[in-house]
Structures are given as structure tokens and as C-alpha cells.
Symmetry: C2
Subunit: 210 residues, 2 copies
């Protein structure tokens, strides 16, 4: 498989983690988001939204949207399971994952913050404040939706909740979110990054890291 | 079942459609988003994000996050199926649904636009421009990700893609998005709203509509 990816893209990071947990090998095709390569017509032909990641399967089939890619991987490579089998438990994991994948990342990504700055005259600090506001608000909700204890967000093995959390925490550290309020999330982050699949997916270990 | 809902909330609208398509009866518990009732501590105890919808099952179990609720309904009430069984087809439906559920609604909802106005001195028109920008951009991507023909986004029966599209189009009409560029989306909207489940879920037919 091949993955169009950017080292600091948290949606790419999610898919890198899932591929690693499933034991799948992949080649990196970097798309430089800060240079705007995601808007090149050649790339948009692969991904109409102009976003990363895009996963290219062995037969050339292309899949977009990180959570749809995770769903595909779960169906085709069920072992190890990254979602519970019970519908109610599964809905609880998805709800926590979606607090990040829906409410947080899309509101704070490079495109949205770039639009805020370019169109509304907001400066660098205003852009950072925007990101910190939504990350702080939503990490608090995530913290209340997960299980109160356990190695990971839900139990002793990683789920989509952790796969969404760890990349979001990378951004939260980067932009100065006060994470001291969320000791449980930091404990989960440490446990996750101790796993080889999470470690290998880190931004700073990617071939396109700067 | 009971649903904490707001007539104009597109995430509530999605769940209302899915409940209707599955033939499930539910009672409405309105939460007035414009009056800020979603921030009342009494409501936040049900939904830590302070968002609607929240689905209350017969036994009192509460589920949050519209797409997690859809997933639960799909697992427990599989007929009629609102997602394809084939993993690749399913990932394609999810990708289109997520262009709306992840990239569009969370960026243009009442809380985010309210924050833009309250914190960055943006006026009413600036808030509308923000919503229109992201809706237009993302509806174009949605239009390219769905099947080029068929009654609905993917084939001749509704899927999560349509369940996300129709509420988003309600907002797009409301805020003046140029939908003439998307004739296929308008055709799908007409076909969907001709179904009783979509019709009964419309904002203007809800008990809390103003």
C-alpha cells in the first residue's frame, strides 16, 4: 500500500497508527501541506477535498477520509480489533473518537486557520488562540466520555479513541494547550507511544519530517 | 426512545432521518441552541460536549455524537441497511458522509460561528461568508466523491451519505450557497425528501420549530 501523507497531519498520523497496529507495510508519498501541495490539481485528482491522507491499495484503488480508511482497515484486517464488537461499547468508542475527529481537528486544521487569518485579518497569535480554545474545550469532553480508568481510553488495548487522541495531543502540546488539567489523557498518551505502532507513526519519525 | 434535539440542528436532523428509516418511534426533548440551553449544566450532564443530539434508549442509556448514534442504530436495527456490506463500497459512502459530517458541519455550526463573531469581531455577514465558503468548497468535493448517477448518492436507496447531505443542504439553502453548480445534489435532495422518513425529519415539521 501507499499513503499520501504529511508528517504533521493528524489525520495522516491516525492512519499511520492503524496501519502499524494491523501489521501492514506501506510506502510514504509526502504531500507538503504548508507549501500547498494538497491543492495541486495532480493531487486533487486523487483526493477531491485536497486533504491528506489518501490510501492507495495494492490494486491502485484510492480511499480518502481518515475515518473511512480506518473503517475499511477494520473490515478487511479485523485482527487486532480496534473497535469493540458490542454495539453499545462500539458507539461509546466512536463518540469519543468523533469528539476529536469531528469537533476538533476539522475546526483547527491548517486550512481553516489559514482561512481565518487570510480572510478575517487574524494574526498568528489569534490563530493559535483559536486552536487552543477548541482543543481545550473538546479534550475536556473527551476526558469525560472515556472510561475513568484502564491503560487506554477504553480498556487495556488501543481503540480508535486512542488513535484519534494521540495525534490531537501532539497538536495540543505544540500549540500550548494546558494539558495539566488532563492527567488521564497524558497517561494514555505515554502508554500508546510505548507501543511500536504508535511510535513508528509519530510525526518526527516520518521521512518527510523537517 | 427519546431524542434531545433542536429543529435546525443538522446533526439532530441526521438522527431523526435514520430513526425514521429504521421505523423507530421516538419522543422529542427540545434543546434550544440559540437560547444556549445546550450549555445548561443539567444538559451537559447528558452530553459533555454540550451538543445535540443525545439519544436516550428504552433502558435510559444515553448515546452522544450523531455518527456514533447512526452506527449503533445500524448494528442493532440492520434493516433497512443504510450502509453497503462490501468494505470498499462502505468506505466510499463513509468518505462522502464524512466530507459533510467532519469537514463541513463542525466548522460551520452555531458554536464555531458564534466564537468567530464574539472573539474576532466578525459581523453577521462575515459569519455568513464563513459558512458559505466551507459549504461551497466541501459540497464540491462531496459531488465528486458520490456515484455519477442513481436516485441517491450511491445507488437507489438512501445511505449515510444522503442522511448527511440533506440536512447540510437545508443549511446551504438557508445561507445562500450557490447550489446551481450542484444539480445532482438537488436531484438527490428532492428524491430523499419525497420519502416519509426524510420528510418527517425536516426542521419545519418538528414540535420545537419556530
Amino acid at each position: 500500500m501507499k499513503l499520501y501523507t504529511y508528517w504533521r497531519s493528524s489525520c495522516s498520523y491516525r492512519v499511520r497508527i492503524a496501519l502499524g497496529l494491523k501489521g501492514l507495510a506501506w510506502d510514504s508519498i509526502p504531500v507538503h501541506l504548508v507549501k500547498g501541495e494538497q491543492r495541486d490539481p495532480g493531487y486533487v485528482a486523487h483526493n477531491p477535498s485536497g486533504f491528506v491522507p489518501t490510501l492507495v491499495l495494492e490494486d491502485g484503488t484510492e480511499l480518502v477520509q481518515s475515518m473511512a480508511i480506518l473503517d475499511y482497515l477494520e473490515a478487511v484486517y479485523p485482527d487486532p480489533a480496534l473497535l469493540p464488537a458490542d454495539p453499545l461499547d462500539r458507539a461509546r468508542v466512536l463518540a469519543a473518537a468523533h469528539v476529536i475527529a469531528m469537533d476538533t481537528q476539522p475546526v483547527t486544521n491548517v486550512g481553516v486557520v489559514g482561512h481565518l487569518k487570510a480572510t478575517y485579518g487574524v494574526d498568528m497569535q489569534g490563530g493559535i488562540d483559536w486552536m487552543v480554545h477548541f482543543m481545550q474545550r473538546n479534550l475536556a469532553a473527551f476526558d469525560r466520555l472515556i472510561a475513568p480508568e484502564g491503560t487506554f481510553s477504553f480498556g487495556d488495548s488501543p481503540t480508535w479513541a486512542d488513535i484519534c487522541l494521540v495525534p490531537q495531543l501532539y497538536n495540543a502540546h505544540r500549540w500550548g494547550v494546558d494539558l495539566g488539567r488532563f492527567p488521564r489523557l497524558l497517561t494514555i498518551e505515554r502508554a500508546a507511544l510505548a507501543l511500536p505502532a504508535f511510535d513508528a507513526a509519530r510525526p518526527e519519525t516520518q521521512p518527510d519530517a523537517e
